[in-house]
């Protein structure tokens, strides 16, 4: 089996995997990083959003082999020890999650938004989230959380 190597949350990692291994499976099953969730396997739900080389994408429709040499960021890389990242803190403060399944993807998508647009309007947040589905339908508080997180990150 081929060996696939990349950087995940700043650490070099390497694992032998079958070519058909999806990036999300590599993260969850080879590296044991189960923060990134699998919802639909078909690029629709956004639960598996991670950043690859600085851009958000769906890790269920990218092969691990395609991320060879890439710089990957996941939800596990955000907190500094026990101290939550400001976007995570905003989700906690604003009750931006119900069951929590979509949350990692929501947070990673939100961070891609604020790196491109540090001061988004509510409408811009709502439009940005079109690729992230919350089956609890808790969108209002997710939007509130992202606006608060963006504000905290602006300082």
């Amino acid at each position: 089996m081929p060996t696939v190597s990349m950087t995940v949350n700043g650490k070099s990692v390497s694992a032998e995997v079958e070519p058909r291994t999806l990036l999300v499976q590599y993260l969850r099953e080879s590296l044991g990083m189960t923060g990134t969730h699998v919802g639909c396997d078909t690029s629709q739900c956004g639960a598996c959003v991670v950043h690859v080389n600085g851009e958000s994408l769906k890790s269920c429709t990218m092969l691990a082999a395609q991320a060879e040499g890439a710089d990957v960021a996941t939800i596990e890389g955000l907190a500094n020890g026990d101290e939550l990242h400001p976007m995570q803190e905003a989700f906690r403060e604003n009750h931006g999650l119900q069951c929590g399944f979509c949350t990692p993807g929501m947070v990673m998508s939100a961070l891609d938004l604020v790196q491109k647009n540090p001061d988004p309007s509510e409408q811009e947040v709502r439009e940005w989230l079109e690729g992230n589905l919350c089956r609890c339908t808790g969108y209002h508080n997710i939007v509130k959380s992202i606006l608060a997180g963006a504000e905290a990150l602006r300082g």
């Binding site: 058909r20 851009e55 958000s56 269920c60 891609d112």
Partner: protein, 284 residues
């Protein structure tokens, strides 16, 4: 494991792609952005023996503008096309359609060439390519040929691309002075494939239509150029009577199939609604 087993090759250059296509024929699939292909593999709707990853081949991602022709490389990501000032200036219909293509995380990965080559009849970019008279550039070991978008789409997910060819780019003539564009679609959720959509490019000089091109997505087995409706519009004033005549002429242009969204009658109704809205937007 979600997909069935396959071999994976990260191609370094085009010669290697052509060798692999020769060797494996129909058992190989080209992997670009993977936003359609990987989903079908995960659902095991497709089980190729070899995936040929073209993402690392140099020179396939560029968007260039020589002042008369815009060239979009096959590997240009949707987000790159959406942000391109050259695309907005030379091919505004592409820029207008692009926000309707899925959503950000998919646009960061999905490619312009992949969408054209996949030829989904409900997708935005194949339809737009017909409305703006794009040329599809197909390269094989024997050289590169250019196929007009009007001759490229042959049927449901079927194109003029041969098994030994790779789609390497798309050329678009820059929009002429005075031409206007409008793109509209109806979808159940933002970012979904359209139930029906329309792209329009043409002129309204002194209130009179000319050079009109109307193309529909989600209204047949391929993107459909509505030439009967365009004939009705050309030379006539923008008023209720002309719009109604163009709406009626769609009977000659469209023959939509029933799908999960609804029956042909509903699609015809929506196509007429969109026609009126698009012509109003064009005149605004």
């Amino acid at each position: 494991m979600k997909p069935a087993p396959f071999a994976y090759v990260r191609a370094e250059n085009l010669a290697q792609v052509f060798d692999l296509l020769d060797e494996h024929g129909d058992d190989a699939r080209i992997l670009a952005g993977g936003q359609s292909l990987m989903a079908t593999l995960n659902m095991r709707l497709s089980a190729p023996e070899v995936l040929i990853d073209i993402n690392h081949i140099d020179g396939l991602s560029d968007i260039t503008n020589d002042g008369t022709t815009l060239r979009i490389g096959a590997l240009a990501r949707h987000s790159q096309v959406l942000e391109s000032a050259d695309v907005a200036k030379m091919a505004p219909l592409i820029a207008q359609a692009m926000p309707h293509v899925a959503h950000q995380a998919i646009r960061n990965r999905g490619t312009f060439g992949g969408s054209i080559a996949f030829a989904d009849p409900a997708a935005e970019l194949p339809a737009v390519s017909r409305a703006i008279d794009a040329k599809i550039l197909l390269q094989s070991r024997n050289g590169t040929r250019s196929v007009a978008a009007n001759d490229f789409y042959l049927g449901l997910f079927e194109t003029a691309m041969q098994p030994d060819e790779l789609l390497v780019g798309v050329e678009v003539p820059g929009i002429a002075d005075g031409e206007r564009t409008a793109f509209l679609e109806l979808a159940r959720r933002s970012g979904d494939y359209a139930i029906v959509g329309i792209g329009v490019q043409g002129r309204i000089d002194g209130g009179t239509f000319s050079d009109m091109r109307l193309v529909f997505l989600g209204a047949g087995d391929r993107p459909i150029l509505a030439s009967a409706a365009a004939d009705v519009l050309n030379g006539n004033p923008h008023n209720d009577e002309t719009v109604a005549a163009a709406q009626a002429a769609l009977d000659a242009d469209l023959d939509p199939m029933s799908d999960l969204n609804g029956p042909p009658e509903m699609k015809m109704h929506l196509a007429r609604v969109l026609t009126k809205r698009a012509l109003t937007a064009l005149a605004a």
